[in-house]
């Protein structure tokens, strides 16, 4: 695999032809390094944490059947809550690290946070991608980074969703730590903003389902695109290299 710069949007070696199969730009591009190691590490840490958070969060809301024996012999809720808070801390620190990486990493590291909403062509491509999902387009476009639809979903569901969960989560966490704790000082203002503690619980709980919707669609799309699109996906998030399956133009 050669590491060619595929940035060449108007490559010199383009040979436009008249009709049929030859109606393509001939270009050799096989693999690009898109996701650097820290970003991939972050992705899989986040996957692990969010899985733990959803499972433990669900059982905080609807606890398991009552434990037999003495209270002093059991600490089930304690462990579940501990796992939730520990994963909460890790996912938050990792997310802060991810934001840092958006500044120092390559251009693909910024895609998660910055939607090119001022670019006209982006909307056109978004529409194209939506048509591809509605089976109205025969071929999707090639993307080195995220396609516009994936990028939007990641921003709206993941970035906003996780930020919401972190803010409400630490507001709730501050209630347990106490009024003078750092968490209460930093995030406690959220509680009166949303009404009272019970409202924050309700919203935090709903937020879980919002994130679950993202995960469901995200995994489906990752697998589907891996099979049906013109580039690799899952192996890209593992090894960092984007492989293209054909030499036809974007």
């Amino acid at each position: 695999m050669s590491e060619q710069s595929v940035k060449a949007e108007q490559p010199a070696a383009t040979v436009p032809a008249a009709e049929g199969d030859s109606d393509m730009l001939v270009r050799r591009q096989t693999a690009v390094y898109v996701y650097e190691a820290p970003l991939r590490l972050w992705h899989w840490i986040t996957v692990a944490c969010i899985t733990v958070l959803c499972i433990t969060g669900y059982f905080i809301g609807s606890p398991l059947p009552t434990m037999p024996g003495e209270a002093s012999d059991n600490f089930l809720m304690g462990y579940i809550r501990f796992a939730h808070f520990a994963a909460g801390y890790i996912v938050t620190i990792a997310f802060i690290g991810r934001i840092y990486w958006a500044f120092v990493g390559n251009s693909h590291a910024r895609e998660l946070f910055i939607l090119p909403i001022t670019k006209k062509s982006w909307y056109k491509e978004l529409w194209h991608e939506m048509r591809w999902y509605m089976f109205l387009e025969k071929t999707p476009k090639k993307y080195i980074g995220h396609n516009p639809m994936g990028q939007s979903a990641m921003f709206v569901f993941f970035v906003l969703g996780l930020t919401f969960m972190i803010f409400t989560g630490f507001a709730l966490y501050g209630e347990g730590l106490g009024y003078d704790s750092w968490a209460s000082q930093m995030f406690g203002w959220i509680i009166p903003l949303m009404g009272q503690s019970q409202d924050v619980h309700t919203w935090h709980h709903l937020g879980m389902w919002y994130i679950i919707l993202f995960i469901m669609s995200h995994i489906y799309v990752a697998v589907r695109e891996d099979i049906m699109s013109r580039q690799s996906l899952i192996s890209t998030m593992v090894g960092g290299w984007r492989m293209f399956k054909d030499d036809r133009p974007d």
């Binding site: 096989t30 809301g61 434990m67 106490g178 009024y179 469901m216 049906m228 054909d246």
Partner: protein, 363 residues
Amino acid sequence: MSHIETFYEVMRRQGITRRSFMKYCSLTAAALGLSPAFVPQIANAMENKPRTPVLWLHGLECTCCSESFIRSAHPLVKDVVLSMLSLDYDDTLMAAAGHQAEEALEDTIEKYKGEYILAVEGNPPLNEDGMFCIIGGKPFVDQLKHAAKHAKAVIAWGSCASWGCVQAARPNPTQATPIHKVITDKPIIKVPGCPPIAEVMTGVITYMLTFGKLPELDRQGRPKMFYGQRIHDKCYRRPHFDAGQFVEEWDDEFARKGYCLYKVGCKGPTTYNACSTVRWNEGTSFPIQAGHGCIGCSEDGFWDKGSFYNRLTDIHQFGIEKNADEIGTAVAGGVGAAIAAHAAVSAIKRLSGNNENSEDTSA
């Protein structure tokens, strides 16, 4: 203006002995969580400071705060505090009535401009120019604004004055409004609860009278010393919560064993109050000790947060009441079905050769 009596002079005039007075000072120190070293300081303040008058107004309310207040655990505290309060204006407790009472109010406002504390029980309804609550022939909201104008500080007794409570529950036809939304230029101390605990009420007022300053307040204006923690943080059933031992049904074995009431909707984890430490009726018990979950009576809008037996609020926007998990599973189910359908169509398209992408895979 004549000589203003000190607290001590008032108490003596009310027939309280020096011995009882000293006892009161040590009880006060204990109630406020201060060390015995503070007792002489409190006594000294009471002996020398001019008495701070308290005006106690009643708006739209059920008088449960007053009822609670006069049942303060220690009769001495109650007597002393009452003797200091009822002198001025409290239409429930004072001897005067009618015009005489309204005159007493005016007198106090005139005489102690900027010095007195205004305690408000209940709240003003603002709809129809406040006509839903008339005191002495005038809307309560006018009396409230008038009395607050020269007050040093305002105490909002109970959930009514603090948040609105039942009369402000949706759809709130009279537009009952909590005090802090009507009086915006005075320090307001919220003492929520339906009613607040007697010892919390006497504790707050004693603190203000003896130290001549406001107790430390939290973000929402509640005294930290009584509202700094949730019921859940100091609940004696908490070990069962951490162990994962819950009452599953009201009449099960676990209810008899006194397990945690979380699963039957206890709102202790979201309610700031002192019930699990101070308790009720002279420290006898509190709802959770009696086997019922907390209903969150001291929290903002607790009437509008759904059933007393659900920890989370139901969501009405979907026509039928649904909780977060029901909505979540329904939507996730819908998305899951859509994904399955989409996957099926994708597979068919692919098999029927509609998709040529993968044929010429080169990577």
